[in-house]
């Protein structure tokens, strides 16, 4: 009786696994949680909670990157590609902290020394300094590494609303080396990277899922919110609503050429090459 039950349970799970694999192959995908560009190689990386892909150039031939054992069973929350470092990618998420690959995702190394826990929900690479990273742990604050994640140092508590996602920008005018633009439940918040003062970036007053900027003109800041997709051309003071794909944007990235790539809650990937006047769905 027991053996029969075990066999039936085994068949059940095998069917479930087959169904899930088939569904994934058919495109019933998880939401896209992070998108980032390796600007050196024009490679777009796309992360779902449990999957990671890359596409070089714009042929949309996606290559699946095997996740390291440390990630399996956990969910990816953030991803960052550093400036001026070809083949380097960072992954982060609650439970596994920060992982670094220097060979296009073939091998991964944990980089958590100095972090109080591995419960990272946001990760950003410095816009210009290749070995500088920022990581956010709820309740613990923002940590900075200047040696490619080998060591981390507490920098600030972050905005009181918390951080869902953030990005480092080289927009001019900082006392230090740039700015941090932060997606919070109450809008975009902004601070110079000396962490002197967190300020509201305009008056979006809505939950923000993601924020990024045009690397050709860093004062052009985009925000994906619960109210829609917005652009600010003055560093986050005034915002203009743009068109958006039908689904909720959960992550987006701006290419070196200024094209905007947006991932959605239903797993779709879209691109706009006309200053976000229109979108086209692309393979993902």
């Amino acid at each position: 009786m027991t053996a029969m039950l075990q066999r039936q349970v085994g068949i059940f799970f095998a069917l479930i696994a087959t169904f899930m694999a088939t569904s994934a192959a058919a495109g019933a995908a998880e939401k896209i949680v992070a998108l980032t560009f390796d600007r050196e190689t024009n490679t777009l990386f796309m992360a779902r909670a449990h999957e990671l892909y890359r596409s070089k150039g714009e042929d949309w031939g996606w290559t699946k990157i095997a996740l390291p054992p440390g990630v399996q069973g956990n969910a990816i929350a953030a991803m960052a590609a550093p400036a001026k470092r070809t083949g380097v990618l960072y992954l982060a998420g609650p439970g596994f902290g920060v992982l670094r690959s220097s060979d296009d995702g073939r091998n991964w190394v944990a980089r958590n020394d100095g972090l109080p826990s591995g419960d990272i929900v946001a990760l950003a690479a410095h816009a210009d300094q290749p070995d500088t990273l920022y990581a956010y742990i709820p309740g613990k604050g923002i940590f900075r590494s200047e040696d490619a994640g080998a060591h981390w140092k507490w920098m600030d508590n972050g905005p009181r609303e918390g951080i869902g996602q953030f990005i480092h920008s080289n927009m001019p005018g900082s006392m230090q080396t740039g700015w941090l633009l932060v997606a919070t439940p109450k809008g975009v918040r902004r601070s110079m990277d000396c962490f002197c003062l967190w300020q509201d970036a305009g008056e979006l007053a809505a939950p923000v899922n993601a924020v990024s900027y045009d690397p050709r003109e860093p004062r052009n800041v985009y925000a994906a919110t619960a109210k829609g997709f917005f652009l600010s051309t003055d560093g986050g003071e005034q915002w203009t609503r743009l068109s958006a794909p039908t689904s909720r944007i959960t992550a987006f990235a701006v290419s070196p050429a200024g094209a905007v790539y947006a991932g959605t809650a239903d797993g779709g990937l879209y691109r706009s090459v006309d200053q976000v006047k229109s979108w086209e769905r692309i393979g993902a």
Binding site: E146, M175, Q176, G178, C194, C196, L197, Q199, G235, E237
Partner: protein
């Protein structure tokens, strides 16, 4: 003097030549530097940043002109987040908030009214307004920046 903040005496005195027989002891030099800095601060900085470095009220919010009020320089402010080099540069050259709604500098520069040694002494004084943890943080930032290319 508006905006920006402090530095630690230990860092400043690190740039002073080692004491020789007959020279004033380092501790004396430090205390003289700080005393000088306190006097200069009261003359040039206190009007905006407060007599005790407490800053302007509501300094986190832009005023009616769209300008950021002068922040504190004590432990409640953010001067301790900046390296010695950055503090010196800001006092010397001034600084304009990128989102300032007027054409004015957010903090005026003092290159025309303070000598380099006077600026160093003000910075030494500001460091006395911070917590030990903030002084340590700032010392590390100063060391870090000394190892990097010039900040933007």
């Amino acid at each position: 003097m508006r905006s920006l903040g402090p530095i630690v005496c230990l860092v400043l005195t690190a740039g002073i030549a080692p004491a020789r027989a007959g020279d004033a002891a380092p501790a004396t030099i430090e205390s003289e530097l700080i005393a000088s800095g306190r006097t200069i601060y009261q003359q040039h900085c206190a009007a905006c940043h407060g007599a005790r470095g407490e800053g302007a009220p509501e300094w986190r919010q832009r005023d009616a002109h769209g300008e950021l009020p002068a922040p504190p320089h004590d432990a409640q402010g953010h001067a301790w987040r900046h390296s010695d080099t950055m503090l010196y540069r800001m006092i010397m050259e001034g600084w304009r908030d990128l989102f300032n709604k007027t054409g004015r500098l957010t903090m005026p520069g003092f290159a025309g009214s303070l000598a380099p040694q006077e600026i160093h002494s003000v910075i030494a004084y500001l460091k006395t307004l911070w917590t030990p943890e903030q002084r340590l943080f700032q010392r590390e930032e100063s060391h870090r920046q000394s190892l990097q290319p010039a900040a933007r």
